[in-house]
């Protein structure tokens, strides 16, 4: 734990020094500030890779690096460092690498802390088959939108009597309405044709019934988008047989967790899947959802694709579609070419070589 204290002291000092310098926050020379949280393990190296590629693409992004370690605030409540929170509140956009969750550290997971701090209520994962990275499933093109604040992950559990445990799943009208509205807005803004609500209202009549009802109500205001509902088990059954029939899926927390990972598995795993978290007050944090991979950390073997695609998602969120397309195409072309691939993609190049190749392609596109 000494390491944590040392790091948070350093970041407090460094952060203080940085904020004393004049910091043009946003829109100076068209630059947009993004809070970058490199994370642990392979986090720093893949963050560096993304920054390099963005530089090569001349993307108008100004990175503000911050570290998030849990610190105990006044009142004994765990929170993220104030510099990180302030930076995010100002920039509203964040890019995050993998964070490790130490067991028995006494504090909740960092991901959970971030989620609570910024009220990140929607987890969005677009799953698109990557040409050149073969999986048994081709032509996958769907988006899972998962309610991220309540449901089965409310963390409320009790031991009723010895040997009987009760876990509470919480579904509220407010959260269901919010996620349904986000799903339909997303569909409209990204030209998606249909939204499917995934539920188990035949068994969980009241809770999923409420969720379903709110989705139906919101669908009334979005008549241009087709709305369907499907049982969770039917979705799973059909997803592994024919994933092309799905477009945008919206669902409560647990189903979202399972389905988004299932869909990630269809396109090749967490190493190539982007993810974005949308919060209240316009905050959006994009992240790679794989682990910290401590065994390959610092050895220049990591694959930055997941973080890069999340950064591309971030560019699209910011309206910089041209830049996004350029970087994404360079990345996919590199993978399709198969000449320079990291080990997990089937090659034996280093992370820096893979990054360099993408940078070269981006520059060639100028």
């Amino acid at each position: 734990m000494a390491g944590n204290a040392w790091r948070s002291t350093v970041s407090r000092v460094v952060g203080a020094m940085k904020s004393q310098a004049s910091h043009p926050r946003t829109f100076s020379r068209g630059l947009q500030t993004v809070t970058l949280i490199p994370g642990d393990g392979i986090g720093p190296e893949i963050s560096t890779a993304v920054m390099k590629i963005f530089e090569a693409a001349k993307a108008p992004i100004q990175w503000e690096e911050r570290n998030v370690t849990a610190i105990k605030g006044p009142g004994g409540k765990w929170m993220i460092p104030t510099e990180a929170k302030d930076s995010m509140d100002k920039s509203k956009i964040g890019l995050k690498g993998p964070l490790k969750t130490p067991i028995a550290a006494g504090h909740p997971s960092m991901n959970l802390l971030l989620r609570k701090t910024f009220d990140l209520y929607a987890n969005v994962r677009p799953c698109v088959s990557i040409e050149g990275y073969k999986t048994p499933y081709t032509d996958v093109d769907l988006v899972t939108i998962r309610e991220n604040t309540e449901g089965e992950y409310s963390g409320i559990e009790h031991v009723i009597v010895d040997g009987v445990v009760q876990s509470i799943k919480l579904i509220t009208e407010e959260a269901s309405q919010r996620i349904a509205e986000y799903a339909f807005e997303y569909a409209r803004n990204n030209q998606r044709a249909s939204v499917t609500a995934v539920h188990k209202a035949n068994i969980m009549r009241m809770s999923d019934g409420l969720f379903l009802r709110k989705c139906r109500e919101v669908a009334e205001n979005f008549k241009d988008i087709k709305f369907t509902e499907m049982y969770l088990d039917t979705v799973c059954l059909n997803m592994v047989q024919d994933p092309t029939q799905f477009d945008v899926l919206v669902m409560p927390n647990l189903y979202g967790d399972i389905l988004s990972d299932l869909c990630a598995g269809l396109i090749g795993g967490l190493g190539v899947t982007p993810s974005g978290n949308i919060g209240a007050n316009g905050v959006a944090i994009f992240e790679s959802v794989h682990g910290t991979a401590p065994d390959i950390a610092g050895k220049d073997l990591a694959n930055p694709t997941a973080l890069l695609l999340s950064a591309v998602m971030m560019l699209r969120h910011m309206g910089l579609h041209g830049q996004a397309k350029k970087i994404e195409t360079a990345c996919f072309d590199t993978i399709r070419d198969k000449k320079v691939l990291t080990k997990d993609l089937g090659g034996n190049s280093k992370c820096s070589e893979f990054t360099g190749e993408i940078c070269r392609r981006v520059q060639d596109m100028e």
């Binding site: 559990e157 407010e174 009549r205 799973c236 059954l237 399972i258 990630a264």
Partner: protein, 357 residues
Amino acid sequence: YNSSLTKPPPAKYGGRHTVTLIPGDGIGPELLTHVRELFRFCCVPVDFEIVSIDSKSTSDDDMNNAITAIRRNGVALKGNIETNHNLPPSHISRNNILRTSLDLYANVIHCQTLPGVRTRHRDVDIIIIRENTEGEYSSLEHENVPGVVECLKIITRKKSLRIAEYAFNAARQNGRRRVTAVHKANIMKLGDGLFLQCCKEVAAGYPEITFDSMIVDNTTMQLVSKPQQFDVMVMPNLYGSVISNVCAGLVGGPGLVPGANYGKDYAVFETATRNTGKSIANKNIANPTATLLASCLMLDHLRLHGYASMIRKAILATVSETRLHTADLGGQGTTSEVVQSVMREIESKGPRTSEQI
């Protein structure tokens, strides 16, 4: 598939068994009619007592009749009963009531790649054992504050030990090497933590079987990339729904996989994925394979192994005939063609007299 934890009822009345038949909704009635047709053709010593359940009615009489009939006969074959969403939330799923009233605690699904069915993955052979009576399906929900609904997921030590015992026993009896517990104990620390703890305790009594565990989201990811790594899987109710549907999809879909629900005293057989198939009902296009294979599981349970293997062999021979594949397998065959083919197969290969079965 072998199971010694449920006793089958003894044959009464001239060596014939009586089995409760619940047609259900959607494709249930037509497919179960085919089962009766096939059994008549093969002279299977089973009589069906048909009990209908009207899914639109709110009265409990139908359910009580069905439960009484199953208690009396000990064994049932059923189609899925639709849950009417227009009725208030207090109207609990009929299928769920059946499972909990009869304490059918183990839902067993064996997913195997079938010859002649084209799938993305080969050599899949997974036995899924799903806790069938508690967990998220406890039907305990309330709305204390308007707009805030709480749904209770119950995990008990007793039922977790019971299902774990069932899983390891089944693994041992079927010569399986490995049991994987599927859970989400990193988030639901107490609930799934208890389940996992119980599995570990039971595993200690089966040293020849490897026990490991996997978090449910990782499990689904692994299933769609490398399903061959799994052997026997045991899990609580909801994850069981997800995993069994994923595995059924991997081996060819809802039309192929049979399922069984075992309790201490009763056994109910149905399709693995429990679909009503409303949109394809009464069009003669539904795939009868899952229902027919479920009836074979029932015959095995009744110790009528000769009939069971005779019919099963014929079904597997038919399913490998691509030109007979129904729409769900990408073909244009009809339900009746498949059933006719099974009967012809039995006639040509089967024994001449019942003494030979």
